[in-house]
Amino acid sequence: MKKVIVAAIITILFWGMTGVALAGPGRDDLMMELKNLVERQQRQLDAQAGEIARLKEQMAELSGTQSAVSEKLAAVETEGEKVSVSPGNKHAEVQLYGHVNRAVLWTDDGNSSKTYFVDNTNSMTRMGIRGKVQATDDFSVGTWIEVGLTTNPSSAVDQLDETSFEGDIIKRQLDLYLQSKKYGKLSLGHGSTASDGTSEVDLSATSVVAYSFVDYLAGGQFFYDRQNNMLSDTDIGNVFNNMDGLSRRDRIRYDSPSFSGFSVAGSYGSNYMGDIALRYNRDFSGTKFAATAAWASPGDFIPIADDQYNGSLSVLLKNGLNATLAGGLQTMKDDSRDDANFWYAKLGYQAKLFTFGQSNFSADYARSKHIDMDNDTAFSFGLAFVQNIKEWGTELYIAYRWHDLDRTGEDFDNINAVMSGARVKF
């Protein structure tokens, strides 16, 4: 009971003191301070509400942008589907490739000189499509279509007609194949015979303008007959031949797998032609070696020839020096004809003179005998320079070639030719 009485007294005293304080002289100040506090808090609330409203607007804008991006992205995807090619077979691979090789050719037959605008036959302008399906780890099936697209071939233009070769489309490869890493490759179609390229192994890197097929540079040029002061009917292409197998034909061909760099190939085709070739490619600690040898029975492809033997080899040292040799023999069906033959030798050097690509130099010499007529001997000497521009897939080149023909009872002028141009791989 005493505790209740004490609590009541304390409560009365507290309220009494509070009442005195509120009724004191600082009451108006306190009320003003409280009012100001409430007003500041109201302003802060208003400011925060404004900030939230702005954030909401920004969120809405971002949402709209996201929608626009999504719509545009979908449009890009859709457009992509329209223009792309969809593979029917997920193991398939199809590639398009090619190059353009154009040049200016200047020739002098001893009587007059001319300038031509040509496609360089050493490596004619072309494009192709390769397709392959990797059926298993070991086995693949493929196709290869390649066409040459050429006007004014350097090997065909002559003193009488500078522009007679318009719009030629040359079938080069129309081929299909089955390939096994274990068992080799079987090809059927129009394409390289087994012996194709066997006179042309060359590691000089100047083959874009100079190799054993010396008449590709200016083969259509007629020799000038000094006795009769007129053009003869014999051109460079008539008297040079590098006997490079059987070229590209309609045939069936088999290539063995490579055994320590060594492989063998054989083909048989229309008009009773057939051939066998040996190949060897090896890299000995940076020194590259490549060689081939072939036998061919030309059938009706070369009507006058019975058999053809040819080969070539090339060595490229680590320091860039390189050497190439090639040779061939054709036995004639007509026993009264001399067997035709040719030899070719080349020395070259590959240097790194510029940062943008390798510089390649070469000098070569060729001799063909009994090609057009018995006792014909044709000589050629050439110089070549090829500058690579690697990142552009481009080779700039210039070459000089001298041609001479010795024929019993006739007197021909030499033919000089200079060709300069570019091969651009696209």
């Binding site: 199809v94 490739y97 040996l278 651009v424």
Partner: protein
């Protein structure tokens, strides 16, 4: 003339029996050369379709979603 050719064939067989050195593929430089192309980039070929396009092509960035988003903006 046959003798040098036969000699070359025998030489090839003899060298072929030697296991020194390593394999390499001879590329005739009268054919379209290997290496980059002016338009096809490092591949040197246009892969119309197939695994090579995603492995080596210079155009690989075009296949990424980020690139497409950038193009869309």
């Amino acid at each position: 003339m046959r003798k040098p050719i036969l000699l070359l064939a025998v030489l090839l067989l003899g060298i072929g029996g030697c296991s020194a050195g390593k394999e390499y593929t001879y590329e005739p430089s009268s054919e379209t050369p290997p290496g980059p192309g002016l338009f096809s980039g490092k591949d040197g070929v246009f892969t119309i379709y197939g695994k090579e396009s995603s492995k080596n092509s210079d155009e690989q960035p075009a296949k990424t979603l980020e690139y497409k988003a950038e193009q869309a903006q």
